[in-house]
């Protein structure tokens, strides 16, 4: 049981990191990013390939994963500079799909749909599986803590205030003399770097990645986590991620307790329960569990 709880906390950590990254792009700057799994995948593939094929040490692999995702984020921000709302959502969704398709078709590089297996993990094989879990728990939540600290600082700094101004009305921000595009690029780069770092860590925890791991379902999970936690709030991002994992995993046990339910019905019930909870949350607490505290609303 403990091992399972630890493993789920590790997953919660990945989701929290991703929610933090998304929060910079979507929550603060208001740019809908449905391509976050693309940056996550990019980080995962970069680190997996650099450590398995180029023999880079793991920390450098993680750093490269974040850097490559950040560069992609910067380019992405320039491409979508003029897009807003639905159009931005479609283009970012397309970006994630392109990453997934490239990963499944460029077999010489990514090993195609077979995926990359045997990705090293810190001390994996030298310690017991349970100790490995605990080590990774430490690594992931340290990353979350670091990310949280710096992103919260940034969000309350003049930089964060400009991002919020862009979110509320970018024309006004431009009139006030703020270089809107430059801020957007920086927000995208920061968010994508966090997403890439999450992906890089994920690859080394799982030891295996395949294009199917980066399907749009994960994007939806993270968007839901952030919505549940509170869009724009860094604490909300973390609470939302923990809430989401609790919901996904908790329904496993609750559904099993209902007498007379077959496993097939249980699987369907679980998905239904997750959907229903999120609908209820959005209906009765649209601002999320920990709403953003902004000057404009105060």
């Amino acid at each position: 049981m403990e091992a399972y709880l630890v493993a789920m906390l590790v997953f919660a950590g990945f989701y929290a990191l991703m929610a933090l990254g998304l929060n910079v792009i979507w929550g603060l700057t208001g740019m809908v990013n449905l391509g976050l799994v693309g940056f996550f995948g990019l980080g995962a593939y970069a680190s997996a390939l650099l450590t398995t094929k180029a023999g880079l040490p793991m920390p450098l692999g993680w750093l490269s994963g974040a850097t490559i995702a950040a560069i992609a984020g910067g380019i992405m921000a320039l491409i979508v500079a003029r897009l807003r709302g639905d159009y931005l959502a479609i283009v970012t969704l397309g970006f994630a799909e392109v990453i997934r398709l490239v990963a499944s078709n460029e077999i010489w590089l990514t090993n195609g749909t077979d995926g990359i297996s045997g990705i090293p993990g810190p001390w994996r094989g030298y310690v017991s599986p349970q100790q490995f879990n605990l080590i990774f728990l430490g690594i992931v939540w340290t990353a979350v803590a670091v990310g949280f600290y710096f992103l919260s600082r940034a969000s309350h700094s003049p930089f964060g205030r400009v991002l919020r101004a862009i979110r509320e009305d970018e024309d006004i921000a431009a009139v006030a003399g703020k270089p809107v595009l430059w801020f957007k690029v920086r927000a995208f780069v920061t968010g994508a770097a966090v997403l890439g770092a999450a992906g890089a860590l994920y690859a080394h925890y799982n030891a295996f990645i395949a294009p199917e791991s980066f399907a749009p379902l994960l994007t939806i999970y993270i968007v839901l986590a952030l919505t549940a936690g509170g869009v724009g709030s860094m604490r909300g991002a973390i609470v939302g991620a923990i809430f989401l994992i609790t919901l996904i995993e908790g329904t496993r046990f609750i559904a099993a307790e209902i007498p007379g339910v077959t496993p097939v019905q249980k699987a369907a019930l679980r998905e239904g329960a997750i959907a229903l909870t999120l609908i209820l949350l959005l209906r009765f607490r649209p601002q999320g569990l920990i709403p953003e505290k902004t000057r404009t609303k105060a």
Binding site: Y4, A7, S117, I248, G250
Partner: protein, 401 residues
């Protein structure tokens, strides 16, 4: 200040909720005594049509074994989790089965990506993994013997198919493959086989399976003057391809895997489009006692190859544990080959097997999916293949080799 304490309360509430929901699971695990088998089939997602029957087959075998007294007096409990045909969900499901339920084995992973994702957890935690996934790479993992695969790997499947096609006079074969772990390795095998047999692969296209139209692919097939087209895809895309090949007037042989064309194909396409389509599959051993028992248990409906395989997975695990006298993943790993191959008395069901093992006799289990013998890597040996042709909305058996 008030808002902060509210937040903290909300966070506490969330934590309490999390803990209580996990505590329910803890109670389950604490009951202890029975032996737990984990089943991780796809109950939702792309594998959703297959998972429920795969699970039912396992439950049937376990009920029978429990009625026969279980494994040395210990009852067996089946715990199923949904892998959602998604590697991420499969890992979380496997975590739960291994860490919470203490499963001795995991049965029935279907998608190759799910199996590969789950495999390291299994060998690190010393849990046996029985799978129906076909990707060659799976048994090449450093799995220390913990993986048993009853599905012939794709190399064996394709090379058998090539032999059949050449025997039927195919000389120019066009290979149209959905992007999958099999596409590239299939192509290698086909080129090698046809070159050696005096024929040729007249064209090779890998397509994206989610497309809804395949005009350019079909045009290339027409241009290549092939006598046969190998449709190496999945049900939805092969259905569209069949229609477009018919429209384009393709008159050669159309050949595909049985999982890519089944009864639903006949519902969505008129007979004149499907007539003449040849399908092939690693066949369950249709005349075997094990297969007929499974068919009876399912109520005389059609039994798919995957259910036949999970039926055998459960039987193998139970007999191996009985042979070992203990139900750990390692004991199962070390004893599967002792009860599935060799000179022992042939049995086709779990009841007879348990009785003979209790009497101290050697057994050799012959399953519903075939004779179930494994090589050193955990791959199945000596499976039969079945060829069928579509005729007026039904499949007619051509050959069983």
């Amino acid at each position: 200040m008030t808002t902060f304490s509210l937040n903290r309360r909300a966070a506490l509430l969330g934590t309490a909720g999390a803990l209580s929901s996990f505590a329910i699971g803890g109670k389950l695990a604490a009951q202890g005594a029975p032996i737990t088998f984990g089943v991780l089939p796809p109950l939702t997602g792309a594998g959703g049509p297959y998972g429920p029957a795969m699970l039912r087959a396992v439950q049937g075998v376990v009920e029978e074994a429990n009625a026969a007294g279980g494994i040395r007096g210990r009852q067996i409990r089946v715990v199923a989790e949904d892998d959602q045909t998604n590697p991420d969900a499969a890992v979380r499901g496997a975590r739960k089965l291994i860490d919470v339920d203490r499963a001795a084995c995991i049965i029935g992973t279907w998608a190759s990506a799910s199996t590969t994702a789950v495999a390291p957890l299994c060998w690190e935690n010393r849990v046996s993994l029985f799978t129906v996934s076909g990707a060659d790479s799976i048994t090449l993992l450093p799995h220390q013997g913990y993986i048993f695969r009853t599905q012939p790997n794709s190399r064996l499947q394709i090379s058998t198919a090539c032999d059949y096609l050449m025997a039927k006079g195919a000389r120019r074969v066009f290979h149209l493959a959905a992007q999958s772990p099999f596409a590239a390795s299939s192509q290698e095998v086909m080129v090698e086989k046809f070159r050696a047999g005096g024929g040729a692969v007249s064209g090779y296209i890998v397509y994206e399976r989610d497309k809804t139209a395949f005009r350019s692919e079909v045009d290339q097939i027409m241009r290549s003057r092939s006598d046969t087209v190998m449709l190496n895809g999945y049900l939805p895309d092969v259905t569209i391809l069949l229609r477009e090949l018919f429209r384009a007037g393709f008159e050669g042989r159309r050949f595909t895997f049985a999982y890519a064309a089944n009864a639903t194909t006949f519902q969505s396409l008129p007979n004149e489009v499907t007539n003449g389509l040849i399908t092939f599959q690693p066949s369950p051993d249709l005349d075997s006692g094990a297969f007929n028992r499974l068919k009876n248990r399912f109520g005389n409906v059609e039994v798919d190859p995957y259910s036949a395989q999970t039926n055998d997975h459960a039987t193998l695990a139970i007999l191996a544990a009985a042979q070992a006298g203990e139900a750990t993943g390692t004991a199962i790993r070390d004893n599967v080959r002792k009860i599935s191959q060799g000179d022992g008395e042939k049995v086709d069901n779990v009841t007879d097997g348990l009785r003979l093992i209790a009497a101290g006799r050697a057994v050799n289990f012959e399953g519903a999916s075939g004779p179930v013998s494994f090589d050193d890597r955990g791959d199945i040996q000596g499976t039969k293949f079945r060829y069928e042709v579509a005729e007026n909305g039904r499949f007619r058996l051509l050959e069983l080799v």
